[in-house]
């Protein structure tokens, strides 16, 4: 066993894991608000990132574009819920998933149409200096991990310690009963969409300097994000972040150390591992299983 190589791969894994953690957080966020996974989430993040890119292209300084993009995405997410999903709120769940697919397709194709498919550079506010291990973790990676952790803390405070956070959780967990408590469930769901879009925008803007900006940038990442969220437990934002790092490390280490087919099949290996985890712990590593007695 080559320990130095292992350490390197773990560090590199943590760096990519930061990306997954970021998107997994957005995934969990919307899961809390609407009670299912949103396939269009990655495309929403990609679209937001293009908006940021456009703003900067028009001369906005980075942080102005950053904040503006978050605001625009929040409103956009809210609008998508009100315009697209509200009219079909009592359609079966599987029909909702088809609408997610539709949204995916619309966002992906319009981004390609507006901004075309050439790869674009996206700036980082943290610089690209090496932070740890000779460039394995750069300043940008560090900044990305830091922002993810701050976001996580903010979300925790929001959901655990504000009334509106509690109202959102109630609306997602039991809409009928929430309505009977006077909670405007429709608006809570819309708010969840807005927040998910905003978090997605942050994730997209942090990821773009690493993977480059183009309409298909999120497809692979979202897959890992889902996997991370599910492994960590969909009910636990903290679990999702840990899941993200775990998936990043597993992917890198498996790709390097499993002889012969490690490289070619590293995605497959990562997924098999994830499914294996689910078989042992069906609600994820940190997910709360619903204890319910009737």
């Amino acid at each position: 066993m080559n320990w130095e190589l292992l350490l390197h791969q773990v560090l590199a894994g943590l760096a990519t894991g930061g990306i997954y953690a970021c998107i997994a957080l957005a995934v969990v966020m919307i899961y809390q608000a609407i009670d299912h996974l949103n396939f269009a989430q990655g495309e929403m993040a990609m679209f937001s990132t293009f908006i940021a890119w456009q703003l900067m292209n028009w001369g906005c300084p980075y942080w102005v574009a950053f904040v503006l993009t978050i605001a625009i995405s929040f409103v956009g997410g809210l609008a998508i819920e009100r315009i697209v999903f509200k009219p079909i709120h009592d359609a079966p769940i599987l029909s909702h998933i088809v609408v997610f697919i539709a949204l995916f397709s619309i966002l992906n194709s319009s981004a390609g149409w507006i901004w075309d498919y050439t790869i674009k550079d996206f700036p980082t506010p943290f610089g690209t200096r090496s932070l740890i291990g000779n460039g394995l973790i750069s300043a940008h990676d560090g900044g990305m991990i830091g922002v993810t952790l701050v976001l996580l803390a903010l979300l925790y405070l929001f959901f655990r310690h504000t009334r509106i956070g509690l109202a959102m959780r109630a609306a997602a967990a039991n809409p009928e009963s929430a309505r009977l408590a006077g909670i405007r469930v429709g608006w809570m769901v819309a708010l969840g969409w807005g927040m998910a879009a905003a978090i997605g925008a942050v994730a997209g803007m942090l990821i773009a300097p690493v993977v480059f900006l183009e309409p298909n940038m999120m497809i692979g990442i979202l897959l890992y994000g889902f996997a991370a969220a599910v492994v960590g437990g969909l009910t636990s934002p903290g679990g999702a972040v840990i899941g993200g790092f775990a998936v990043g490390v597993i992917e890198n280490v498996a790709g390097t150390f499993i002889p012969y087919f490690g490289r070619e099949l590293k995605l497959t290996i990562a997924l098999v591992l994830i499914v294996a985890v689910l078989l042992v712990k069906p609600s994820g590593l940190f997910g709360r299983s619903v204890v319910s007695r009737v």
Partner: protein
Amino acid sequence: MEATPAAIEATGAATPSVVRLPPAQAVIGGITLARWRQLAIIACVIVALVIPFVVKNFFIFQLTLALVYALAILGLNLLTGFNGQFSLGHSAFYAIGAYTAAIMMDHWDVAYYWTLPVAGVVCLISGFLFGLPALRLEGIYLALATFALAIAAPQILKFSPLEHWTGGVQGIVVIKPDAPFGLPLSSDQWIYFFTLAVAAVLYVCAVNLVNSRTGRAMKAIRDNAIAAGAMGVNVSLYKSLTFGVSALYTGIAGALGAVVAGFVAPDSFTFTLSIQLFVGLVVGGVGSIPGTLFGGLFALFAPNVAESVSKGLAGAVYGVILILVIYVMPSGAAGLVRLIVSKLARSAR
């Protein structure tokens, strides 16, 4: 037992009450519903038999492919619509069926019609085996596991050590069969009729299956697995068997697809195919057997229509079409038909 009122209450007003078809004796326009159904089937059969003689070969080819998709969607529907299990991994079973057929034809010169039963059995076994661990997973988690299967399939097909069998990235070319016995049919026409015949047999089997004792057990598990278990249904066995049968249907569709398309390649069986099948399932109507025919047509033609509207924005047009379809028929084509029929039957009364 206390669980029942709570469960009913929880779903009470939130879920729309499902519109059921009126009884077969209900009368619309002086004809009973059972009769209408017979007429509809006869009309479909006549159209299906006549159409290859009045349209171009390319359109026949597309129709054949739509039929193949319908069959694959039927497989998915047996699992999702009748047993309540969810799968985003059926592109993998489709791929297994297609490659089984292609490898048999390419390596051992087996005739195309013999590949179908083999592909079916191979998929039945793989589906059953996959269904065993899937027993422990539900909802989102099952979706992820099957999703993983769909992602893994093309990677494994490209995997270099298997290249001797799978042809790697290039895939395998298979020769399209011509009409036998000197029948005056073009190759496309012949494959169409062959597919139609296979599909007809499989559809009849599916109808019989869901109306049998086994089918009732499948549906009981879908509606309430705990109650079904309490009534003595072997839930695990039925769930994994359903997975197997579902994969069998989709695998035979895959084998037919290989014959129809004339080649197999890893990139034809990506996650996109799973999505196409899933969209077809929902648009046709979850839990409706005739609905899968509509689903097959939609899965094949909707992307083409979108492309013809705008090349650059084809994806966006496709998305808008999907949203409109869900607005108009939130429970799929079958749901819309049920709604119209029950309205007509009521106004006739």
